[in-house]
């Protein structure tokens, strides 16, 4: 470093300052949300709360945890995340595995058939009509079945399967294993990192589901957390007339809103360090192949 040109040094210093600043713009909004969720409403209204709670209070969290409808929405989200991701993984691997095998005649055609759906997507209304025809409207299945397989994740998983040496499959077959046994006892255990990668992508999608619920659910008792959160973020009285943000009306609800934001975010943040080990690898394989 010592012998480098001064312009290089200047660049490096600016670069470190810029990157640190960028990270702060990612972090500080969270600190602001956390601080507000623990601050007295008068302090929030005055604009006194920056990154540290003022007039510390747990009132908003008390309100959130006392609200049965928030608990129910939380339960729905956990349910579609757990059950939905299980469906995702079973459906995706049961298509990705056969397509990863050279013995599957016509796999190129099926791959094309799948890839085409990434380019041609059907408009919303025909999708909605289909959901009506098969009676999925107003059921939680509407949030899980139509998104059972993502073409991108299927390609990721297939690429992982293809990396496993075929000699392993051959020797298992000589030992008398059937195809199902090979998949269940050999391929899936060997692909745990791949399943984890794809599972993470799916569970984040399932946890964040909002649009599908808006399209396919009318029954409020089925609303997942994101829809409930959205309702709390806009003024309740104005829900039916439009989407006025809460600013227009009273400010005292802001603390509650920040508390709910955190309740919906914390599970993802807790998973994040674990997730990070996998998602980069998954991103790469997916993008290289597509």
């Amino acid at each position: 470093m010592g012998r480098e040109h001064w312009s290089r040094k200047l660049f490096l210093i600016c670069n470190y300052i810029f990157l640190t600043g960028l990270s702060l713009t990612m972090l500080l909004p969270f600190l602001n949300v956390i601080a507000q969720s623990f601050s007295g409403s008068a302090a929030i209204d005055r604009g006194d709360v920056m990154f540290w709670p003022v007039d510390f209070t747990l009132n908003y969290y008390r309100y959130v945890f006392d609200d049965a409808s928030i608990w129910r929405a939380f339960g729905v989200t956990v349910y579609i995340t757990v059950v939905g991701t299980a469906i995702n993984l079973i459906a995706t691997s049961s298509l990705a595995y056969p397509l990863s095998r050279g013995e599957y005649v016509g796999r190129k055609f099926i791959m094309l058939f799948v890839l085409m759906t990434m380019i041609f997507t059907a408009p919303l209304i025909p999708q909605f009509i289909l959901m009506r025809e098969i009676n999925l409207i107003n059921t939680l299945w509407a949030l899980m079945i139509p998104t059972a397989i993502s073409a991108f994740n299927m390609i990721v998983l297939r690429s992982f399967f293809m990396q496993i040496p075929t000699e392993l499959i051959d020797s298992a077959r000589i030992d008398g294993c059937g195809e199902l046994r090979i998949l269940w006892r050999l391929m899936l255990p060997l692909s745990k990192p791949a399943l984890a990668t794809v599972g993470i992508f799916y569970s984040v999608t399932n946890w964040n589901k909002y649009m599908d619920a808006l399209y396919y659910l009318n029954d409020r008792s089925l609303y997942p957390l994101q829809v409930k959160l959205r309702e709390l973020l806009i003024n309740d009285d104005l829900v039916d007339t439009g989407n006025l943000p809460f600013d227009v009306a009273s400010q005292s609800v802001q603390g509650v809103q920040m508390a709910v934001i955190l309740v919906a975010t914390v599970p993802i943040i807790l998973l994040y360090p674990f997730m990070q080990r996998y998602f980069i690898k998954g991103m790469l394989i997916g993008s290289i192949k597509s």
């Binding site: 640190t20 972090l27 602001n32 056969p98 058939f113 408009p123 209304i125 973020l233 439009g242 600013d247």
Partner: protein, 294 residues
């Protein structure tokens, strides 16, 4: 084939899934040419040709909404597409591994938040009375601005929040491509007296070009799909003039006002324009750089 019947058997549910949930609705788009009635169905609804498309183009609102969609798509390419390339290049200059890892961990994180949460955070920060943005403006004696209540700010907010969420995530693939560059190239150019800036122009960027091209083509293919959620969660009656895009309009016209055929016609128009853009960009790119998607 009979020997591997189990393989075929377990692939059937997946194939059926794509047929039913992706191809059937695609065929169902024919209702754009009908006056579709839920009770009469595809068979019983009368055919009307291009009536819905004509109505679409003659509608004053439609042109405004199309303009919003195209503008946001253009801003997205200008900022959201280029920013990750720049950020990846900057991250690549960092030699302190621990610092680099820490920065990466932080900038990837917002990608995992839902748009609802992101809108919540931004609406909070931009609030006229208590939002941190206006508190800071207040230090400089500037009166509070109701950012989300005016048409003039909404595009910047949409593009900005998108950048905030995805700029870090977008760097992953470029950083991977950067590690694939042969270090000998840099050593050789150093002997020739090339500085870091020259190296970036002559070695790094050309090495990234194939990845940039492919991602650019994919982005062009998505040009009209700015995304329903990210816009919908920021919309309110005060900023709707500039924030209504085709996707949000389709939802309102189709599912709220039950104009099924009209909304499908708009959706079909959107898909066709997207496809034409993709095909054009692909052939242009093949001629210019030799890189193409297909």
């Amino acid at each position: 084939m009979w020997k591997y019947r189990t393989l075929y058997l377990i692939s059937i549910p997946g194939i059926v899934y794509f047929l039913v949930f992706k191809y059937v609705p695609l065929l169902g788009s024919v209702i754009a040419f009908q006056n579709y009635n839920l009770f009469a169905g595809f068979g019983g609804s009368p055919w009307v040709g291009f009536e819905h498309f004509e109505r679409m183009f003659s509608h004053y609102d439609f042109l405004r909404i199309l303009k919003n969609t195209l503008l946001l798509g253009a801003y997205d390419i200008l900022f959201a597409f280029t920013a990750p390339i720049v950020l990846a290049l900057l991250l690549n200059e960092v030699r302190l591994t621990l610092y680099k890892k820490l920065i990466q961990t932080i900038v990837y994180a917002p990608h995992f938040l839902s748009w609802v949460i992101i809108s919540g955070i931004f609406v909070g920060m931009l609030s006229p009375s208590s939002g941190i943005a206006n508190v800071i403006l207040g230090w400089f004696g500037i009166d509070p601005i109701y950012f989300l209540g005016e048409d003039s700010y909404i595009r910047a907010i949409l593009v900005g929040s998108g950048l905030w969420r995805d700029v870090g995530w977008g760097t992953i693939i470029y950083l991977a491509a950067l590690t694939g560059i042969n270090p000998e190239l840099y050593e050789a150019s150093e002997i020739d007296g090339a500085g870091r800036w020259k190296q970036t122009l002559k070695i790094t960027l050309p090495a990234l070009l194939p990845v940039i091209t492919v991602l650019f083509l994919l982005k062009i293919g998505d040009f009209m799909d700015y995304g329903f959620e990210r816009v919908f969660v920021f919309q309110n009656p005060l900023n709707i003039q500039n924030s209504e895009i085709l996707d949000t309009y389709i939802y309102k016209a189709g599912l709220k006002q039950l104009q099924y055929s009209y909304a499908t016609a708009i959706g079909l128009f959107k898909s066709v324009v997207g496809l034409i853009l993709l095909v054009m960009a692909n052939s242009l790119s093949r001629k210019a750089t030799g890189e193409s998607l297909y």
